[in-house]
Symmetry: C2
Subunit: 354 residues, 2 copies
């Protein structure tokens, strides 16, 4: 584990006052910078490394000089551009906003999925429900609403989800293959992304996706369209008392699944799994833990994904700190046999046994 954010409070009061204003004006800077990105102003500046005047940028972008100056003054104050001798240049921060895929995916997700609903974060904290979701859907959680969200919201949600979870699949599939499983139970397998990747590469391994009926329906469709024979499905709500976990799998696999639940629900799910496995089975859990990231920037991104769960997703889950998650594994009686960090962008694999 790493001790991130240990340099907090090492700035002067004068600097702290400035940083407080940056937080107080954060929505302004966010929307100005996003607008400059989406109206291609950052791209035009990236393509003109010798700098452009306001007039030249207005002409190239087909916007008024008022619009250009307004956006550029905020961008100047936020270190997105620099201005020398009346010419505007893109800074390194501006360059990342313009061309870094991760930054763009985070920004789209925070604009299209989270921005409006986050206004209701305080209400969500008070009620324990995703009060911000009302701006997108009348459902209680975002999961059954996903397929019906407006296109831009849906695209931004899936781009974000896939960037984080899918980026880990190639490496983790190799690790799981080395365990030589004959069967895998993919709990919370969702639309089948992981299962299909693994099943295609390993036609002799039988994979069962266990999930809610609406997710299984989408997974079945995908499996059918990809003509994959070694995946079956199991419809169940894991939170229901009468639900039990199917037995006799070599690996129980959960990828970014447990972060959708409360601590007490996680313990109950893990205990159910413990009742279904024998000593030879492995329980493999992949999650992005913020205290196991390779650098503070990654820790920052993982942490700040959590308020989405409160305001938009379900009101009660979050990304984990590993030292907290470890306690839940212990309570449920799991023995950790190996922890593998740096899988994909931000994932950690925990291999456990009974």
């Amino acid at each position: 584990m790493k001790d991130f954010f240990k340099d907090n409070d090492k700035i002067s009061a004068i600097q702290a006052q400035y940083e407080a204003q940056k937080i107080a004006f954060a929505p302004i800077v966010f929307q100005v910078v996003r607008t400059m990105r989406d109206l291609k102003l950052l791209e035009i500046l990236a393509d003109n490394k010798d700098g452009l005047t306001y007039e030249e940028l207005a002409k190239k972008s087909d916007l008024t000089k008022y619009a250009i100056q307004l956006l550029c003054e905020t961008a100047l104050s936020a270190n997105i551009i620099s201005i020398k001798n009346e010419k505007i240049y893109l800074t390194k921060i501006g360059f990342f906003i313009h061309s870094d895929k991760m930054t763009n995916t985070n920004m789209n997700y925070n604009h299209h999925v989270n921005y409006l609903g986050l206004f209701y974060l305080e209400e969500s904290i008070k009620s324990g429900k995703a009060e911000g979701l009302k701006v997108l859907s009348d459902k209680d959680t975002i999961y059954p609403a996903l397929s019906t969200l407006p296109q831009k919201v849906k695209d931004s949600w899936f781009d974000f989800d896939h960037m984080y979870s899918d980026s880990g699949f190639p490496k983790v599939i190799k690790i799981l293959e080395e365990l030589n499983p004959k069967s895998i139970l993919d709990i919370g397998g969702n639309t089948g992304k992981f299962a299909m990747l693994f099943a295609k590469k390993n036609p002799n391994v039988n994979i069962t996706i266990m999930d809610l009926p609406q997710q299984v329906k989408l997974a079945k469709q995908n499996i059918y369209e990809n003509d994959i024979k070694n995946i079956s499905t199991y419809e169940a709500n894991i939170l229901k008392e009468e639900t039990s976990i199917p037995k006799d799998f070599d690996i129980i696999w959960m990828s970014q699944f447990l972060d959708c639940f409360k601590e007490e629900q996680i313990i109950s799910i893990l205990k159910k799994i413990m009742n279904s496995v024998d000593v030879n089975s492995e329980i493999c859990i992949m999650e992005p833990f913020w205290d196991r990231q390779s650098n503070e920037t990654a820790a920052y991104c993982v942490i700040n994904t959590s308020p989405y769960f409160t305001a938009m997703a379900n009101g009660y889950s979050k990304m984990f700190k590993y030292t907290d998650f470890e306690k839940l594994l212990k309570i449920a009686g799991l023995e950790v046999i190996e922890i593998i960090d740096d899988i994909g962008l931000c994932q950690t694999l925990i291999r456990c046994k009974k």
Copy 2:
């Protein structure tokens, strides 16, 4: 004038990548920090300088441990708190968010007035109209809607407006008194705040408020309630061609008035004034110019007030850079005789003659 933001781009690429993520997650940090302030978590931490555990903070605030941990992890990542040996401490930035009046007023204004409408900044830039205003009102500009806005929005708007403009009144009134005027024309006098202050202190000076009918109505009510005899009113839309400026005033006074207009409108207003004054009259303009602030933090706040004008107020005005404003004065033929900075929080007084 000061050359603010000249240190832009003096950071490494690694630091720039981190700063880009801070912008991409800015709405998350804003809403978490505001929620912590409004749920009194920052106050509780300020009152417990020896630190509190998550459990202790949950107990003292009557929130769940989940809520506390979620908010505190984002706050940790944003340097609002520090954590040592599982105890949470408020940082200097957290202290400013908790107890600095200016920071609080800025944050309330950006949450209650601007946050939701800022989602439509891109559309406002494209259309030249305040497209974000639709979340609050069906009017074209915010000014006629002000009196009917929801209470929290109205309070936050007026607190912000008064903090910036009213803070300059005591000092500027002394400066104007030294000019020994017999009469003042207060163009854009709004609800009469400046006029009433000046008139009470100087019962022998006659002040005329010139503004739109709905503003004059509110001003008249205030003047009546305060039983002030030396203020009269003049209803007019200064943008209309047929409107002329009343003559024979010693001082033409405009406080945070011209920043509500486009450059060509400002030139036209200044030219109209030039046609009404003689060589002995003074034209006194008070505005917050971002390049004349005493420090970069103040410049940052003034600049980032501008996107409100685009998305929420009218779609086409902004706060000025003095070097731009100077050009407009020149085009209209005004001669600047004195510039006085550091009036109140952020104002500059420009004394001009024909």
